[in-house]
């Protein structure tokens, strides 16, 4: 069953343009110019109950705009949107009770108060029975291992602890959909890993559907079986996360340290030398050739070898570049076909 459906969803912002200088400021008092920026363009999307979908894209791709439209915070400019059977921007309380949103940089907690105080407020706001409230609280405090932190002021919590509390506050009323915007931003690797594990459990055990926006590919890779790549408000990719990385993660980075000088080593032309010192080489090779080059290097008795996958940033950049090129080519092809078909049509007429 689809819990989110959009068709040709578009959001356009209007921006005020002020000419430079004092004269521009004065002129803009009576003659104001605006430019339109399309944040989301003709976006078609469906999400089934229980899915965990990752939204990736560079800054300004439209990820947050999309989340804001799903939650009703902003109204679409055109197109159709249906979330849990509602038009989100009607802002009906019945609708708002069925989802939760956690924005990494915007807290729902009261810094002067304790988490227990905030949760008590959320219990009343979401109309939870005492028994349901206590059961949910017990489940999450145990899952997130934060039982000892419930009665301390929120402002004294670490960033990782605070994010766990944000998630508890958001999940307390058992929402059907959880929207997460950069939940691991600023967290260290351990805390980020914990958050990922909790989210995975919540999705599996509580059947909570999750839309996760993140710049950290590790979040997306670890959690989302499906992901969407956005760029300039358009969908570049919608499909399996594994396939996406299989397709775009093409190189291996090999770092080799030698006990002797590495000057005399001859390398094939497909190997790119990223860094070279007398006793160390950092190489980039196509992933299917990594095994071959490694066995070659073993002849020089290296003292240390590390093999890393393509850096996430490189992969993302590649996705954007190539998907964009592909889309442009397709559009161009469609236009050409349309021109031919129009011309054909003209002949037939």
């Amino acid at each position: 069953m689809n819990i989110i459906e959009t068709k040709n969803l578009t959001k356009t912002y209007r921006r005020f343009i002020k000419p430079e200088g004092l004269r521009g400021s004065i002129k803009s008092l009576w003659n104001r110019e605006y430019v339109e920026k399309t944040a989301i363009k003709d976006f078609d999307f469906t999400m089934e109950e229980g899915e965990l979908i990752g939204l990736i894209g560079p800054n300004g791709a439209g990820k947050t705009t999309l989340t804001k439209m799903f939650t009703g915070i902003i109204a679409p400019t055109s197109g159709e949107i249906n979330v849990l059977g509602y038009y989100p921007n009607d802002l009906r309380n019945q609708f708002k009770k069925q989802y939760a949103v956690v924005m990494g940089q915007k807290s729902q907690l009261f810094y002067e108060l304790t988490v227990n105080d905030t949760l008590r407020l959320f219990k009343e706001i979401y109309g939870l029975e005492e028994r349901q409230f206590q059961a949910s609280k017990a489940y999450f405090t145990e899952l997130f291992e934060v039982k000892d932190l419930m009665d301390v002021q929120v402002r004294t919590l670490s960033l990782g602890e605070r994010m766990k509390m944000e998630l508890i506050a958001a999940l307390l009323h058992s929402p059907k959909i959880l929207f997460l915007d950069e939940p691991t931003i600023g967290l260290d690797a351990i805390a980020a890993g914990q958050i990922r594990r909790f989210l995975s459990e919540v999705n599996r055990d509580r059947k909570t559907s999750i839309i996760l926006t993140s710049h950290y590919m590790e979040d997306i890779k670890a959690l989302c079986s499906r992901c969407l790549v956005l760029s300039h408000g358009s969908k570049l990719y919608d499909g399996g996360t594994g396939e996406l990385f299989e397709r775009y993660r093409r190189n291996k980075k090999i770092t080799v340290t030698f006990s002797i000088r590495a000057d005399g080593i001859e390398l094939p032309s497909y190997v790119q030398i990223l860094k070279k010192t007398p006793d160390k080489l950092i190489l980039q090779v196509p992933k299917e050739r990594a095994g071959g080059i490694l066995s070659e290097l073993m002849h020089y008795s290296p003292v240390d070898v590390t093999v890393e996958e393509d850096e996430i940033g490189v992969v993302v950049e590649r996705i954007y570049r190539e998907e964009l090129e592909e889309t442009q080519e397709k559009n161009h092809g469609t236009k050409e076909k349309k021109a031919i078909s129009d011309a054909d049509g003209g002949v037939w007429e």
């Binding site: 804001k68 902003i74 019945q94 989802y99 949103v101 915007k106 009261f110 407020l121």
Partner: protein, 268 residues
Amino acid sequence: MKMGMSKYREIARTYLKMQLAWRADVAFNMVFTVSKIIFAYLLWGMIFREREMVAGFTLYGMLSYYIVSSFLSQLDMSAGISEEISSRIRNGAFSNYMVLPVSIEGYFTAMETGVALFYLGFDFAAAAVWVFVFRIEFAVTHHFFIVMCAMIMALMGLFFMVQLNYFLGILTLKYKEISTFLMIKNNLMLLVTGGVVPLALFPEAFISVMKLLPFYYVTYLPAMLFTGGCEEEAVRGIVVLAFWCLVMQAVITVIWRRYRKKYDGVGI
């Protein structure tokens, strides 16, 4: 699922708890309240040393008016609402309110109630100091009906101020910058409540016009009613204020419906 007012009660309680979070803040509020009392007692004591009556008030009548009006004006903490809404709309944090299953206006009313309850505690403490330490005899009206009118009017006045500040706050959706609106409101309030020039110095016609506006009934008239003055204006005051509350609510509904779509949540 429980519905209704309990969420707003809990919001008020939460904001009351927030006021109590800082011990030094509470302590300094206490000191400020007592020093205000001492200052007022000394000031009016000096003025009344030479004469029995000032502007129709005896010393106790004047002190009673001062206590009640400062009591009411201290309860009105609504100015913070417009600033809070405005800054949150501008930095995108207003989204936090939009995703909660509550009426946003109701949320801010409850928030104001929580903060006001904190100051109400100090007001009662101050009243106790007046009565038991300074042995002030409160010059209050003995008419139950007038006391009821004054209380209703005071509550409606506080509610109207919440509405007004909420209205000004949501104007940020359209105008982005509302400091000029706030300045106009503040100056109008000062003028109409006699804060700039005593009301008695204005021509009769001007005062009559001001009495059609709600501000006269927010602090000044309830304070006068409690202390036994202007009793003939009690019912009219409630009617005028109720009218303004209804008008303001209608305006808020229209403005919210129209401008909420302009919110872009920039900053998140």
